[in-house]
């Protein structure tokens, strides 16, 4: 199995699920958190939105990879 195959099979179902944030200041808070994480996650990540990832995994028939990271 090569790397492209592996990533293709998880693409769209990767989640950076360190925190759940709600409310109006969500975008600002997310920005602050991602800066703290030094996160440069690409488009294949779904950040902090588990229901969205589940829905996409269902649509694509792929498994999910859920990653928990500590905010320093």
């Amino acid at each position: 199995m090569n790397d492209r195959y592996r990533m293709t099979h998880f693409t769209g179902t990767l989640i950076l699920f360190a925190l759940m944030i709600a409310g109006v200041p969500r975008v600002r808070a997310q920005t602050e958190l991602r800066e703290a994480l030094k996160d440069s996650a690409g488009a294949h990540w779904i950040y902090d939105d588990f229901p969205k990832a589940v829905k996409r995994a269902e649509q694509m028939g792929r498994p999910l990879l859920v990653l928990f990271r500590c905010v320093p």
Binding site: R6, L19, M20, I21, A22, L65, L67, F68, V71
Partner: protein, 328 residues
């Protein structure tokens, strides 16, 4: 951890990096992420090759799904006391407002605050302290870049008695398909203290069944690296007394002694008892102090509920001195 479903996401919460592989229906294929006692290196049990292996194994389980659904069922844990971390009473104030790096609920807090509550309710058990045993607890040292291939079987261990050998690849434990060392930890974490663990392995292309029998203190592991240990420490951070210290105080070889690195706490019960940084503890409740901090913590917390007092024997200027310290 705000909003994270603890009914689904149960793992070693002291880790700062952990992975789950799931089906969209909530079935867990496996976990990845293991940390041991090395405080200078958090990645002794992690590597990119073993993560790739775990991904490949998860994909294989996904291909076989749902035919393997029954075997995967036990990868989910029991119903937790609180469905989310912010419902734990001592974490409720962190639930308010948007999450920032300052007020987020860190992973370790989920397990830690629940354990603190259990302690306050006087219901703390050894299983609350000795969590997520390593494969080494069975006597299995795994190849880091594989996760499931046995690199070494420790002498006189439960795994050796069961007939596991170096080079074996462990494929299931208690019928659960495995993808990583974290999956082994999950099986061990959920297993009772007195039990037999069914192991399926491959050796030279053959599938073999082995049974690892365990009992006693096999679940005990190093707690000192865990962030959650700060609230478990009985107002004292201790380390084994150094060789120089032992020589200085003429301690016979084999006599355990812990040195107080930091007397802390609010209220400062350790300082109120007269304990100072640098003090040497040689006995707890009249018995020799355990040889390491982890067992010292466990001994004090399991035998002394909140409000109780523990008798510590200190070695000061060559003389033994007893102090009574309140614990909370």
């Amino acid at each position: 951890m705000k909003g994270v479903d603890l009914r689904l996401f149960q793992f070693d919460y002291d880790q700062s990096w952990a992975v789950f592989f799931l089906n969209a229906d909530g079935t867990i294929y496996g976990r990845y992420g293991t940390r041991a006692g090395d405080k200078k290196n958090a990645a002794t049990h992690l590597s990119i090759p073993s993560l790739k292996k775990a991904m490949e194994r998860a994909l294989e389980l996904h291909k076989q799904y749902p035919a393997n659904k029954t075997e995967l069922a036990a990868k989910r844990g029991p119903e937790p006391r609180y469905a989310t971390a912010e419902r734990i009473p001592s974490l409720q104030d962190r639930a308010r407002g948007p999450t920032t790096p300052q007020n987020c609920i860190h992973c370790h807090m989920a397990g830690e605050h629940l354990r603190k509550l259990t302690y306050r309710e006087k219901r703390l058990r050894p299983a609350d302290i000795w969590i997520y045993p390593l494969p080494e607890n069975l006597g299995l040292k795994m190849e880091v870049d594989d996760g499931l291939r046995v690199q070494q079987v420790l002498a006189n261990s439960a795994a050796q008695r069961a007939g596991v050998e170096a080079g074996d690849e462990i494929t299931t434990m208690n019928s659960q398909p495995l993808i990583s060392q974290a999956d082994i930890q999950w099986v061990l974490h959920r297993a009772p203290v007195e039990t037999s663990i069914a192991v399926k392995l491959t050796r030279n292309g053959q599938t073999l069944d082995k049974t690892i029998n365990v009992s006693g203190n096999w679940k005990d592991t190093d707690l000192s690296w865990r962030e959650s240990s700060w609230s478990l420490r009985p107002h004292l951070w201790t380390i084994p007394l150094s060789a120089d210290g032992r020589k200085k105080w003429n301690l016979p070889p084999g006599d355990p002694a812990l040195q107080v690195k930091w007397a802390f706490g609010n209220p400062p019960f350790s300082k109120q008892a007269g304990i100072k940084d640098g003090d040497i503890i040689v006995a707890v409740d009249g018995q020799p102090v355990p040889p390491d901090e982890s067992h010292f913590i466990a001994l004090v917390r399991l035998n002394h509920p909140p409000g109780d007092r523990v008798k510590l024997t200190l070695l000061r200027s060559g003389k033994k001195e007893d102090v009574l310290m309140k614990v909370e």
